[in-house]
């Protein structure tokens, strides 16, 4: 008798909490209360910022020791790749001073060759994704710096993602590799436009809407389309074509796009203070 009463109470608790959760999800989807959940999240972001900053300063040595053990190989590969890239850019043997100066210029995020006329805010990436299912990170600038939800985030090579949540001093950036991310793009050679969608961590993006008759070259550059109503400024580099397959009878080509920016290695980004025209 006591056991069945306990079991019944447990089930009641479960049902109550499940229904409450579903109600909360539904209200969030519908933006109930003028987006009260978004307001709560923004307050939480600001409230946690000093706490996590303090905790970061304590735990950073642990994280660095861990990465030193488990990511040493990745660091070696990245170092070798950067050195090879420097040698290609220079084209000939250079002195150590010229090599150091070229490395500084390569790593300097301030000299973007695109979006020159768009106001920008520099920011530092301050946290890795909190969830294993979310491809995003947090930066140390927010509403106080003029950032708004939906603004474009870039790094030296090109598109990184967009701002999905903003508080006074922090912003959350959804990465272009996230499966919920999509951007209107344009092929550099043909000018064809399509939609590039995130394919997941370490996966290429999928480009849809490309006619089977369009000639696509491997490693062709793809930029943001800049069409009217586009959520992104025009001509921001997004990626290079990795593969394009045109099957007989298909309405569009299957195109894979390799993002230009390695979003897993970012430390510094820029937020473009650009809003889509309404």
């Amino acid at each position: 008798m006591a056991l069945s009463r306990r079991t019944g109470r447990s089930r009641f608790t479960l049902i109550l909490l499940v229904l409450t959760s579903i109600t909360v999800i539904t209200l969030d989807f519908r933006g109930a209360g003028g987006g009260v959940f978004e307001d709560v999240r923004e307050r939480a972001l600001d409230l946690f910022a000093p706490v996590t900053d303090a905790a970061d300063s304590v735990f950073d040595p642990v994280g660095e020791a861990w990465n030193g053990v488990f990511k040493y190989g990745d660091l070696e590969e990245e170092n070798a790749r950067l050195k090879e890239q420097l040698a290609e850019l220079q084209g000939d043997r250079a002195s150590i001073e010229e090599t150091e100066q070229a490395l500084e210029e390569l790593l300097d995020q301030s000299s973007l060759s695109y979006a020159r006329d768009v106001p920008q805010v520099s920011a530092t990436v301050i946290s890795s994704p909190l969830s294993n299912f979310e491809l995003s990170f947090e930066i140390d600038k927010g509403r106080d710096a003029g950032i708004k939800e939906g603004m474009t985030v870039v790094a030296g090579r090109g598109l990184v993602g967009r701002v999905v949540r903003v508080s006074d001093g922090r912003s959350v950036v959804e990465l272009l590799t996230d499966r919920d991310f999509a951007v209107g793009v344009r092929l550099a050679t043909s000018g064809e436009v399509g939609i590039a969608a995130g394919g997941g961590r370490d996966q290429p993006m999928r480009l849809s809407g490309i006619d089977p008759g369009v000639d696509i070259r491997r490693r062709e550059l793809v930029t943001t389309s800049g069409l009217p109503q586009s959520a992104f400024p025009p001509r921001i580099p997004v990626g290079r074509i990795e593969e394009a397959v045109s099957e007989r009878g298909e309405l569009e080509q299957e195109v894979l796009l390799a993002p230009l920016v390695d979003v897993d290695q970012l430390r510094f980004v820029k937020v473009l203070l650009w809003e889509a025209p309404s």
């Binding site: 306990r6 109470r9 447990s10 608790t13 479960l14 909490l17 499940v18 409450t20 959760s21 579903i22 109600t23 909360v24 999800i25 969030d28 989807f29 959940f37 709560v40 999240r41 939480a44 972001l45 946690f48 706490v51 996590t52 905790a55 970061d56 304590v58 735990f59 642990v62 994280g63 861990w66 990465n67 488990f70 946290s127 890795s128 994704p129 909190l130 969830s131 294993n132 299912f133 979310e134 995003s136 999905v164 949540r165 959350v172 959804e174 499966r179 919920d180 997941g200 961590r201 370490d202 897993d264």
Partner: protein, 169 residues
């Protein structure tokens, strides 16, 4: 107000800070531990499905504050995970010290799948793919190791409330 009503929120906030500042950077194959999922699992293991569900709801809501996914999604997933962790542990009559740790690892693996299913149910696309199994394995490993430290903390947080079912050491 009962003592667990004060200690459990404190534990959840502390766990959230550790998840955000330390565990998010300790990754294996780009996967980190899921401490916020481990809390309701430990609560279920120690105190039954009731407590597991309640702690799951609270820790899920706390995590949802800092995520961009639909608000309430983690709460729903962790409520289910905490409840069923409590049910499973309830079938074990005698517990060696390693059984709760093994249960935590297994429940974490199942919890990742539950989370992916709940997320897919609320419209989050592309989570059920090959990479899911990597996440399952690594989270089970991390959470199994962490449970050795988290179980005593959850026991401390739940102490002082109504007597839990005595089926775990």
């Amino acid at each position: 107000m009962s003592v667990p009503a004060l200690k459990v929120p404190l534990l959840i906030i502390g766990a959230l800070v550790i998840q955000a500042s330390l565990l998010a950077d300790l990754r294996l194959f780009d996967v980190s531990a899921e401490l916020m999922m481990l809390l309701p699992i430990c609560a279920g293991v120690l105190a039954g499905p009731d407590r597991g569900a309640i702690v799951g709801f609270a820790s899920g809501i706390a995590l949802d504050l800092l995520l961009s996914t639909p608000f309430g999604m983690s709460a729903l997933a962790y409520t289910l995970v905490g409840y069923f962790a409590g049910l499973v542990q309830g079938t074990i009559l005698r517990a060696a010290w390693w059984i709760p740790v093994l249960t935590a690892a297994g429940a974490s693996a199942a919890g990742v799948v539950v989370y992916a299913l709940v997320a897919s149910g609320v419209g989050q696309s592309g989570l059920i793919n090959g990479r899911l199994w990597t996440i399952v394995g690594v989270v089970a490993l991390f959470n199994g190791v962490l449970s050795a430290a988290v179980l005593p903390l959850v026991r401390w947080a739940l102490a002082g409330g109504p007597a839990p079912r005595a089926f775990a050491t």
